[in-house]
Amino acid sequence: MRLTPLFVLLALVVQGCAWCPQPCCSPCAPVCCGGFVDVTRAEPAPPPKPKVFAIGGEKTTWEYLAAKYDKDRDGAVTLAEHGRGEAAFANIDADKDGKVTAADFKGPTRMQQFIAQMTVARYFQTDSNPMALSRSELEAAFTSFDTNEDDDLSEAEFAAARKKVDAATLFGPPPMPKGADPVGSMRATIDTDGSKSFSLAEMKAHFASRDDDGDGMWTMRPPRGGARPPRPQGPAVGTVAPDFTLSPPEGGAPVTLSSFKGKKAVALIFGSYT
């Protein structure tokens, strides 16, 4: 038996080599030796792709965006740094200055403004018309809630008022969008001096800011530009369910809805995390 080739073979095995199926002209040829390649010099795995949700404990949207996209750590995320398209960038560049900074997240979000208005419309109604709220109704309701008559609605006063209104309403408080915080939204939108109470002046200013036509009324009406198109209804009861084939998030066999026909009823729960 020739020892030299055996010695070389054993040395390669100790180094951590494996059989390389590639021909000697392949990229791994320089490290191949007689058909073996040194696996300890294999290409490193690519870095994992960054996720699209907060996993590092970031508490605010700005903290998350800065950690993920502010590569030069200059306190601003540019369109180029962001890299997720102009539409998405425009949605987060609230002040439209061409860069995303902490300042873009200082004020209330559009959803908070909407929820604040819904909450005010709900609790400051004093007549039987739920489709409109007048400035005089707002002021009358405020006066009735302001039990110590200091023109300021404290947390306690407003809590008592909400409890009274909810108790008087047949079906209790209306459901809110998932994760909504009615009082927090009001605080973010209306409590401009950060006092954790709502002054009469702040309430009037909020009313005026949402009174688009300045007529002293909030009314349910179609947006400017014409009536909103009717909302799609979805397939009606008794009609054939639209078929689909979708896959699980973790991978695996796709599922076709019609495969359950004649076997089992199927409950579909549509939704998203946000």
């Binding site: 996720k51 699209v52 949700f53 508490k59 949207t61 998350y64 965006l65 997720r84 398209g85 998405a88 949605n91 987060i92 997240f105 979000t109 559009r110 959803m111 908070q112 909407f114 209306p174 459901p175 969008p177 998932k178 994760g179 915080d181 927090g184 909302r231 799609p232 979805g234 397939p235 009606a236 009861v237 008794g238 009609t239 054939v240 369910a241 639209p242 689909f244 979708l246 896959s247 699980p248 998030p249 991978g251 599922v255 809805l257 019609s258 359950f260 026909k261 004649g262 076997k263 089992k264 009823a265 199927v266 409950a267 579909l268 729960i269 549509f270 939704g271 998203s272 995390y273 946000t274």
Partner: protein, 124 residues
């Protein structure tokens, strides 16, 4: 409901476009609300769907993920959230209202009980 009826009825969470992505038209991120960007690839949407199932403790209920063309969302007018029951004969047995106000699990359960009580449903 899934624990009670999961043997007789097949449940699926169908994951669709984010209702309140931080870079969407109606953001509601931070504080108590999850911070999620609108997925641009199916892989990203799969990641968020898997996170959602874990964080909301909905596992091991099976989930399916709609494509980025939102085809199933559109076919069922599902956004932001909605409940349906498909009867054993393949027809719509229950169509819930659009969420959040129309999302009523109690109504879905009533529909399930009615469907399971049917004697004219196709035999498995």
């Amino acid at each position: 409901m899934w624990a009670k009826h999961g043997d007789a009825v097949q449940f699926f969470v169908v994951y669709i476009r984010e209702a309140h992505a931080l870079d969407g038209p109606a953001p509601m991120s931070g504080g108590q609300h999850p911070i999620v960007e609108e997925p641009l690839t199916l892989e990203e949407r799969n990641d968020v769907a898997a996170l959602c199932m874990t964080k909301l403790e909905m596992e091991p209920m099976p989930a399916l993920v709609d494509g980025l063309d939102d085809a199933v969302d559109k076919a069922y007018a599902a956004k932001p959230d909605r409940l349906y029951l498909i009867a054993r004969d393949g027809t719509i047995a229950y169509r819930g209202g659009p969420g959040p106000f129309g999302f009523k699990p109690g109504e879905l359960e009533q529909a399930i009980l009615k469907e399971l009580a049917r004697t004219d449903a196709p035999a498995p």
